[in-house]
Symmetry: C2
DNA sequence: GTCTATAGCCAGATAGAC
DNA sequence: GTCTATCTGGCTATAGAC
């Protein structure tokens, strides 16, 4: 890795701050309601300066999604290194992390209907590459978990994969949090339990199951 | 019910056509990307004429949501009349209907973040009344199903209710449909199975005994 | 109530000085 | 690369004739 000049480091730090602001605003208001003025205001620079770093609002969103995928891949790799855990446990750990990220207000969400945004993402090689790597790892765990009887093997792997991905934009945690009656940890446990129980299906009997938690 | 004059009937039919167009466009593009010009174009009238019927874009969306709630309540009442079915079966039937509606491209979706839209809906007495009636019926079924052992009673009823409601905007059916490899019926079966299996429960998530993924 | 035409506004993007 | 100031287009909403 070549050393960066001082100016390049400053550039990096600034762009990092921009992406952080975009990430937060995307999580808070979504793409359509986020304005470029807000991003500039949060970073503390002029809007025109933003456009020296990113060529469009869509490019800003894409940069935030790239960072999300990098973070996700890091979590996946971390779980991959934990050789003592089963495939379904790794899958569950990554899903738990995603739910925690969402409840923390750091999960950027994009409208899947916006076509200009879709085009930008589908043309973004780095993003696509990261997405494929994450999907491949998760997909391998899914197939393995199905073979081990930990996930219902009557579901096509893509059904399981999409279901796991969809936890990133699940509205249920937000609703439960808005009711103000439960801790974040409790909310994550419930949503994760619904998700994993649903994917486990009827395949797996009690052989490997944990002791039943007492009903609360 | 008073008889309607001819002019009033014409008005009804026209407004019905407007709401139908709004409903379809909300399902296709969502609130932000839907323009009032498009609605007028689809109905075949001038935009100014639209504003004689509905005072704002938000009011248009609210009207579509009222119709959705009316349709939902009708389905709920229909299930309520089927005395031979159990509570969990009725809950599943309503959820299935919602998934089918979504796959048919007739499920309007609103951004929960838009504040002006939220305000309009929360001030709309008819909408709120319908929402409460639907929630009450579903809530009663949930409690009953938990008592009968058909749903995991360690989940608070609101967790179950929100999970069922969230199927209306679940992105998984759309992703599976986009892959083009499965029939709508098959997709509904899978998503519904994941949902109901998850709520039925039986075992607790394994990851609860695992160390949490470190923040990255 | 329907239309054409337009007002008013806001947000994305750019020009040009420094 | 940063700024201020401005352009541009598209959208909601309305005026006013018929």
């Amino acid at each position: 890795m070549a050393r960066l000049s001082f100016r390049e480091q400053v550039l990096r730090v600034r762009e990092d701050a921009i992406v952080t602001a975009v990430n937060r605003l995307l999580a808070e208001k979504g793409f359509d309601l986020m304005t470029v003025d807000e991003v500039a205001g949060e970073v503390g620079i002029a809007k025109a300066s933003l456009y020296k770093h990113f060529s469009s609002k869509e490019a800003l969103a894409a940069a935030a999604m790239v960072r999300l995928m990098e973070r996700t891949l890091a979590v996946v790799e971390q779980q991959r290194a934990r050789t003592e855990t089963s495939a379904v446990q790794r899958l569950e750990a990554v899903t738990r992390w995603a739910l925690q990220l969402q409840l923390a207000g750091e999960m950027p969400s994009l409208p899947s209907q916006n076509s200009s945004l879709r085009a930008e993402l589908l043309a973004h090689q780095t993003y696509l590459d990261l997405l494929v790597r994450v999907s491949d790892h998760l997909g391998a765990w899914i197939v393995q978990a199905q073979a081990e009887g930990d996930l219902d093997n009557s579901f096509p792997p893509e059904v399981v994969l999409y279901t796991v991905f969809a936890r990133a934009c699940d509205p249920v945690p937000g609703f439960l949090k808005a009711s103000g009656q439960h801790s974040d940890e409790q909310i994550v446990d419930w949503v994760l339990a619904v998700c994993m129980n649903g994917l486990r299906g009827g395949t797996k009997p009690a052989a490997k199951s944990l002791p039943q938690a007492a009903a609360v």
